[in-house]
Each structure stands twice: as C-alpha cells, then as structure tokens.
C-alpha cells in the first residue's frame, strides 16, 4: 500500500528528469530525425558505395569487381547524359534567377496592379503534376504539323519543327517546361527576400536622387543576395536530379539519340530497365560526387562559408 504512491512519484520524477534534462532531452527530440536519416539516407548511401564495387549479375550472384563499374562509366551514353544534365542545369539557372527576380520586383513595386492575380497565375503551374504537364508538353510539341506549337510556328510562316527528335529543340522544351513549373516558386522566394529590405533604404536613396536602376543595383541586389544563393543552390540540385520531366515528356527513360536523357535517367535505365544494379550504383556515386563538387565551388564563389562564420 505504501509502495504505490512512492512508485508513482518515482516514475514522475524520472519522467521529469528525462524531459527537463538539458543533456538528454535534445537527443530525444532529434531521435526521429536521426533514425530516419540513418535508415533512409545513411544506410542506403553505404550500401550504394558497396554495390558500386560489385557485379550483381542476377539474384544470387554478387561478385566484387573493384573499379570495373567506374571504368565502364567512360562511355558515350553516360557522357551524353552528363552533357544534357549540365546544359539543362545551366539554362534553367540562367533563366530562373533573373526572370523571377525581375517579376518579383514588379509584383513588389508600389504600382502593383493585379499583383494578387499574377502571383496566383505564376504559381498555379507548380500545382500541376509533372506527369500531366509532361504529357501535355509532349502533345503540344509533337512533330506533326497540326500540333499546338507547330500550328503557331506555321502561323508565323515557319516549317513544322521536330521538337523532340533534335537536341537543341528538345533542350528548349525541357527548359520551357521547367521554367513554366518553377517560375512561381522562385518568385515567392524572391518576394520573401524583398520584404526583408527596409523601405527606408529606398526612401533615403530617392531623396539622394538615385535612379531606379541604381536603387536596384545597390539596394535590391545586395539585399536579395542570400536568396539568390539559395535559389541557385536548390536549382543546381534540382537540375542534376531531373528525371521526371524527361520521363514524362518522352514517355520512357530512353530518349531518341539520348537527346533528353539525364544522369538520373541513365541510373534508372541501367539499374532497373537493364537490371545492372552495381553499375547503376556506380553511376549514382559519380552523380553524388559531381553535385558535391559543384555545390562546394558555387558556395565558395558566393563566400557562403565565410558568411556562415
């Protein structure tokens, strides 16, 4: 009889000690993240490294083959995938930084007529499934003369274009699809960045007689620099991990003449379509190293490491 209250008190005490302890509580709080990180990221990463040195020829034949998978990566299809991925990332960044910044400045200006409407209009494509968008673009950019875009080309007196059978038009379609889907999101990022710039800076600049261009260059641009760095970083990541757009546009990971095949598409093709899991893992490692390298160089370029410190 006497033991019960003291037992309950003990439990309460332990619980309190547990949750209020500055040393234990943080571990408990980060535990869910830690577990999911270890299970879904760390373990697959280690396993991928291991698989990249193996030839997994079937369901029960796993052989260590050293660097052979990496040596086999030196082939035209992989290089073509790297080229497509690089170009795609380059063009999307080139468009998806200045354009949304410009539109965000317009939407943020004092004379904002219909700003709410335009914000929504730019953002709505993001809500579309990439598969639906890809299928729509596939038919719109079909090579027949009666397809939507070729009809417009014909109205301007042009010949029908084989959009998805030649590398330059294909890249144009992929970049258009990406810009159409992501413009609104980047505008939101830049709008948020613009809100952080104190209006007083603009006011005092106006009093000093600064032109709109000078205000943009010397107040807006430095003010949104962290946003620009962020947008470029996620765009590099987004560009190098692109797969769904190309898959939906061509209806398969295999594209004619590899004109639209990306690095992730190549990994998918090798690992699953051709069931070469070891080789696919090696291609995955190559992609990881490449993206790491680019992100480090880019952050160094923007002095991101120094700002952190």
């Amino acid at each position: 009889m006497t033991a019960r209250p003291s037992g309950a008190g003990m439990a309460k005490k332990i619980a309190r000690g547990f949750f209020y302890s500055p040393k234990v509580a943080p571990y408990v709080l980060v535990l869910p993240f830690l577990i999911s990180f270890l299970v879904f990221f760390f373990y697959p990463l280690i396993s991928t490294v291991q698989m990249s040195f193996q030839n997994i020829a079937g369901f029960d034949e796993v052989r260590f083959i050293g660097l052979q998978n990496y040596a086999n990566l030196l082939n035209d299809r992989f290089f073509s995938a790297i080229r497509v991925t690089f170009l795609y990332t380059f063009w999307t960044i080139l468009i998806l930084v200045p354009l949304p910044l410009f539109l965000a400045v317009l939407l943020n200006s004092k004379r904002k007529i219909g700003a709410g409407f335009f914000k929504a209009a730019y953002f709505i494509p993001q809500l579309t499934s990439v598969i639906v968008a890809g299928i729509f673009f596939r038919f719109a950019f079909s090579d027949s003369a009666t397809a939507l875009i070729n009809t417009i080309v014909a109205a301007f007196g042009g010949e029908p274009v084989q959009w998805l059978k030649k590398s330059v038009p294909t890249m144009a379609v992929l970049v258009t699809l990406c810009v159409w889907r992501w413009l609104g999101v980047n505008i939101v990022y830049f709008l948020a960045g613009l809100q952080n710039i104190s209006p007083e800076l603009y006011e005092s600049a106006s009093m000093d007689g600064a032109s709109a261009a000078r205000k943009f260059l010397h107040i807006t641009l430095p003010g949104v620099k962290p946003t620009i760095v962020y947008v470029i970083t996620i765009s590099v990541y987004g560009g190098f991990s692109m797969f769904a757009e190309s898959y939906a546009l061509f209806g398969t990971a295999r594209t004619p003449g590899e004109i639209g095949s990306t690095m992730v598409g190549y990994i998918y093709q090798q690992a699953f379509v051709e069931a070469r899991l070891g080789f696919g893992a090696a291609a995955g490692m190559a992609l990881l190293l490449l993206v790491l390298l680019i992100n480090v160089v880019q952050l160094k370029f923007f002095n991101a490491f120094e700002t952190e410190a």
Binding site: S21, Y43, S47, M51, I56, F59, D143, P256, V273
Partner: protein, 463 residues
C-alpha cells in the same frame, strides 16, 4: 545516481539506434525496397497486400485460394479475370480468387525485380514483357519452371515461342500470342494505284510496287519506325540474323543487319517510298491519325497489331488486308514470331501447383486459346486452334478483316524460328531503339555499319 540514470538512458538510446540500423542490414536489397517505398509507395503497399493474401491456406474446405497476378496491360487483366471465372465454374471444388494488380509498364517490372531481389512481396503470377524477360533469368531464376504444363502439349504448340522464355532447358513463361510477322495493306490506296498485293512476294517487288503507289497516288508505300525496332527487327530475323547469338554473344554488328538498315534507308531517302512514322513509332497517337487518314499504303507489324487498327483506326474498317510479310527471296526465311509477354509464376507463390494449373487452364487449354483470339485478337500459341471453325465466328476482328486471316497464318506456322533472348537483350533492344535506328534513319548522323558497330561495342563492354 543522476549520472547513472543518464548513462542508462544514453545506453538505451544507443541500443535503439543500433537495433533500427541493424534491422536493415541483412540484405543489400533492403536499400532498393526502401528506395521504392519513397517513390511508389502505393504500389509497394499493394504488393505487400497481395503477398499476404496469397499466403492464405491452400485449397480445402471450399474456401477460395487467393492467387495474386500483376500485369501492365488492361486487356490482360480482363482476359485473366475471365479465365478465373471460367476456372471457378469448371472447378467448383477448388475455387480461386484472383487478385489482379494493373501497374504501368515500368512499375510492373521494377516492382517485380525488387520484390524478387528482396525475397518478399512478389505475386504468384506475373506478366513480364519479352524486352525485360532476360533480367529475371539472370543467375538462378526466381521463377518456376513450367515444363510440366508445356511439354504435354508441345506437338500442338508453336514451340519457338517458348524458347524465348527458356533457360537451361526449363521454360519460365507462357506467352499470350505467337506474333507472326505480317503486313497490313490499305486496299483502297493499293487499288487506286492498281497494284496486286498478292503478287508481292519479295522485298524487291514490294519496293517496286511502292514506286507505283507513290507515282499514282502521291502516298508513301509505308512508314518506318525511327525510335522503336518493329520496322527493323522482322527483316533482321528474315536474314536469319539477330542482335545476339544463340550463346548470348553480340551479333548486332553483323553485315546482314547493316544490309537491312541500308534497305530501309534507301526506301526512305533514295526512292522515298517510305516516311518516318509520325510520332516516331507505330504506337504513337500521331501515327494512328496519319494512318487512319490514308497517310500510307501499308505497314508491317506482327499479327497482334490487328487490334490497334480495330481500336485506334476504326475508319479503316474493311479496308485493311493482312498478308504475309515479303521475304528477301521468294522462298526464303520467313522470320520469327515477335514481341510478347510471358506469364510466369514466382518462387514466392504459396500455391505454386494451383497457380500452374490455372495458368495452363487460362492460356493453353482449348477454351483459353480460343479466348486469346476472341477477347484479345491474338494468334494463339496452339496452332491446332487456328483451323477450328470457332476462329471464323463473327467478332470485331472478323468484321474488320474478314475471316481469312488464320487461313493465311496457318501456312506460316512451321516457318517461324525463335529469337535469341540472352542476358544482354534488354540492353540491346534499348540501343537499337534509341541509338541505331534513330541515328541512321532519323538523324542520319551515322551509316548503318557505324551505328551497329558503336552499339555492339557498348554491348560487348558489358559482357
């Protein structure tokens, strides 16, 4: 005291982490399962459900035994569901409950690969397309040999179609059809040009007739696929050639394959009697519209393409004649049955014998074989069915094409040979589609031999 408690807690946290971490360790395949969970969670969940229900107790007590079946074709779903109903009528003492999952082509094959690799989650019965089948025969196949249901019927079956799904003398898949190569003429255009399609026996004669058609009607004789292999491959098999040899070696760069590509190239750019298929291949929406509008006088595709005309080009009703493919020489090699989907039984099935019996009932019995024609419009694997009166009974195919199709096909039944589905087959097919035919016929960036050499070199590097 407090620090002791702390230690105990820290230890507990570590143990928990270790437990979670090590739970994932036993097989490398767990990684892939996890990867799929993130991308196609719904499918994986469905797979798990199938696996548990298929584990229901075996026959007895009149309770239906649950069998799961995955496919990527809606038509196959209807066919198998109908077969399950027929089975239950014929076997009231051993009922089955067929749980069917219809996935996209990629999901069907990827989920199967992963579930076989990880040793759990695979269905009892599964459709595997011929272009992917070799992936599942690598190492020790995780599919069950079907010799005991195939061999008793082998004198009635087109056996070359079973060789495609065989390894070391065991048959692992039962197809839906033979896929006899055929050519479909638009009789309206051919009549207008005044050509006799029955007189066309060789490819030279075909090319000559093509010139007449182009001259008289202004319409190209045919369309050629530039992003898939159906225009190229049948003619390759007619040269007794293939992408791979019988031993799995690479033969893609064989001179006879270059001759075929050159012939196609010449039709397109020299005599100009052929044009690239709108959309790039004969299953593109653009192509259906083009062909339905009288865009070309003919197209060669396997027999199973008959249902594409009935379903996607209905305006051509009564205007399409199915004929044997021309050959390189008048009595030369006819070629191989092409395309197809092998239905297999996985080694994870809890009722493998029942699954086999049902598969045999659905596809190899007289009733089942007839239904591959009446329901799907395919040429059944059992040639003894081809001559039955039931094959001429009115249906949407006889209405569209008349009743003579199988009279023609039966003359070809002994002339079909198998293709060589070695381990590199999926890769070879990808290279032919996205590289060889595209670069030679569409981009014109490589000569036939150059394109074949480059693809063969890449294939050999993977051996």
């Amino acid at each position: 005291m407090r620090s002791d408690k702390m230690k105990a807690l820290s230890l507990a946290v570590c143990v928990l982490l270790l437990a979670v971490f090590s739970a994932c360790a036993p097989a490398a395949s767990t990684t892939t399962t996890a990867a799929v969970t993130t991308t196609t969670a719904a499918e994986t969940a469905a797979a798990a459900t199938d696996a548990t229900t298929a584990a229901a107790p075996a026959a007895g007590g009149g309770d239906p035994v649950k069998l799961s079946f995955w496919t990527f074709q809606n038509a196959h779903q209807e066919f198998m569901a109908d077969a399950a109903n027929s089975w239950n009528e014929a076997n009231p003492d051993r009922p089955i409950e067929l749980e069917i999952g219809v996935y996209s082509y990629d999901d069907n094959h990827n989920n199967l690969l992963i579930s076989l690799q990880s040793g759990t989650g695979a269905p009892d019965i599964v459709d595997i397309e011929i272009g992917r089948f070799a992936n599942y025969l690598k190492g020790t196949p995780q599919l069950l040999p079907l010799n005991d249901i195939v061999e008793p019927l082998q004198d009635k079956l087109i056996m070359s179609r079973f060789e495609n799904y065989a390894k070391d003398g065991s048959y692992y898949g039962v197809d839906y059809h033979v896929g006899v190569p055929a050519i479909y003429y638009n009789t309206e255009i051919c009549d207008a040009a005044g050509i006799d399609i029955d007189a066309i026996k060789t490819w030279d004669q075909y090319a000559e007739a093509g010139k007449t058609v182009l001259e008289k009607t202004g319409v190209p004789m045919t369309t050629l696929e530039v992003t898939e292999h159906w225009s190229f491959y049948p003619l390759v098999t007619q040269k007794n050639s293939d992408w791979l040899g019988a031993d799995g070696s690479v033969t893609l760069d064989d001179a006879s394959n270059a001759e075929v590509l050159q012939f196609l190239y010449d039709m397109m750019y020299d005599s100009q009697i052929a044009v690239p298929a709108p959309g790039g291949f004969h299953h593109a929406e653009e192509y259906y519209a083009f062909m339905e509008g009288g865009g070309a006088a003919s197209v060669w595709m396997p027999q199973w393409y008959m249902n594409r005309f009935t379903d996607y080009m209905p305006a051509l009703n009564g205007k399409i004649a199915v004929r044997p493919l021309p050959r390189w020489e008048e009595n030369g090699v006819y070629g191989a049955g092409l395309g197809g989907t092998g239905t297999s039984i996985t080694n994870q099935s809890k009722s493998p014998e029942l699954a086999k019996e049902f598969l045999s009932f659905a596809k190899l019995s007289t009733e089942g074989s007839l239904k591959t024609w009446t329901m799907l419009g395919f040429d059944p694997l059992r040639w003894d069915i081809w001559t039955m009166d039931e094959m001429k009974a009115p249906n949407k195919f006889t209405e569209f094409y008349g009743t003579g199709v199988f009279d023609m096909l039966v003359t070809l039944k002994d002339q079909l040979h198998p293709i060589h589905v070695g381990e590199l087959y999926p890769n070879a097919q990808t290279l032919v589609q996205s590289s060889v035919v595209f670069k030679v016929l569409s981009e014109k960036s490589m000569s036939p031999q150059e394109a074949l050499d480059a693809a063969a070199q890449e294939l050999r590097a993977q051996q």
